[in-house]
Symmetry: C2
Subunit: 213 residues, 2 copies
């Protein structure tokens, strides 16, 4: 199926058949690995994924997510995190590029400088990176899962503090969202797609003059 067909097929699953699919550790690592083909700033890959499959751990996650049933119904829930200090990998990334012949030493030095210039003292850029790049991977993950017949739902509502504590997420990582995965409830109809705003409300040409302030 084409990307467009998969985009059309994807729905945010409201209810899962409780643990209705067996999603193995290996399958999930493969799906996440493929999702990481998404691009990231300077290829810093500031994304981390916590796979939650264990029933007791899902109960804890369910509490962190304001008791949304789909969290414990899902076969697996992925906590998608962003690394707000992705730029710490700058030197490693540059050395890699030299090794593969993609950059020479002078270019690698420039790359490291450009990365530091982009993020040092710029908390907004840092936070944007730590949300945007993991979101690219999460969107890819949802499409890859849809293509394999796995239902998904993105979840943005959870108690950040409780989640960090329960899942030992260090300060440098930002929990961006959860992706619940599993078999959509068999007795639930395919939910209608929420209406999308028409292009006239979201697309502007050459400038944003006239946008709602």
């Amino acid at each position: 199926m084409t990307v467009l067909q998969i985009l059309k097929r994807r729905r945010s699953v409201a209810r899962f058949e409780p643990e209705g699919l067996l999603l193995t550790r290996e399958m999930l690592e493969e799906l996440i690995g493929d999702a990481c083909l998404a691009p990231s700033d300077f290829n810093l890959q500031p994304w981390r994924f916590v796979v939650v499959r264990d029933r007791e751990r899902k109960e804890i996650l369910y509490d962190c997510a304001y008791k949304q049933e789909k969290v414990r119904q899902a076969s697996a829930v992925i906590i998608v995190c962003g690394d707000a200090f992705g730029d710490r990998r700058a030197a490693e990334e540059a050395a890699e590029a030299v090794q593969t012949g993609a950059l020479d030493q002078a270019q690698a030095t420039q790359l490291v400088e450009a990365i530091h210039r982009s993020y040092e003292g710029n908390d907004v850029a840092r936070f944007a990176m730590a949300v945007r790049d993991p979101a690219f991977a999460a969107m890819s993950l949802m499409l890859l899962a849809t293509e394999r017949g796995i239902g998904t739902t993105p979840i943005g509502r959870f108690d950040d503090k409780a989640l960090r504590r329960a899942f030992a997420i260090p300060d440098r990582y930002f929990p961006v969202m959860l992706v619940a995965m599993g078999l959509p409830a068999l007795d639930a109809p395919v939910p209608p797609r929420g209406r999308r705003l028409p292009p006239s409300e979201v697309v502007f040409h050459e400038g944003m003059g006239g946008a709602e302030p």
Copy 2:
């Protein structure tokens, strides 16, 4: 082609053939419309897109983006913005759901309250929504373009203030990134894909204990 094949085919284009493709206003609106099939928190669709096709406007955008050549070489550049006040659409979205029969009146009232609870006084959630959801749409846009043979490159480095001024972007919108689109330079080889971190470095199971602090 499958989503995986498209993910593998996508590369961040380093150089475009200067204005090498004719990307019409209609084509771009259609692509963006399809990309908006991506999910968003409460279907608030906090994304806006500024399509830049005009040569003089691209020159200005090039200046805002620290003179990255690909900005003015591209046939079109999309400024992807997030709406930090997407929750202002809560009532509208709830009314829509009542009209289509998806929710009854009591549920609609609960929805509006849930939306307000999620964002009011929570600037982090607000900002995360305004980056994450537009990033879902941007990732979808890059995949849809790749499938149609259009080269893309995501650009995260630009002068936020200069961009806002030049493109009349009101305070409530956050410029998340640029997506440059066009024909990859004909004399440039397909760039090698940057190495991806192995699953052992980005995937954790049941908790993040052991992650680099």
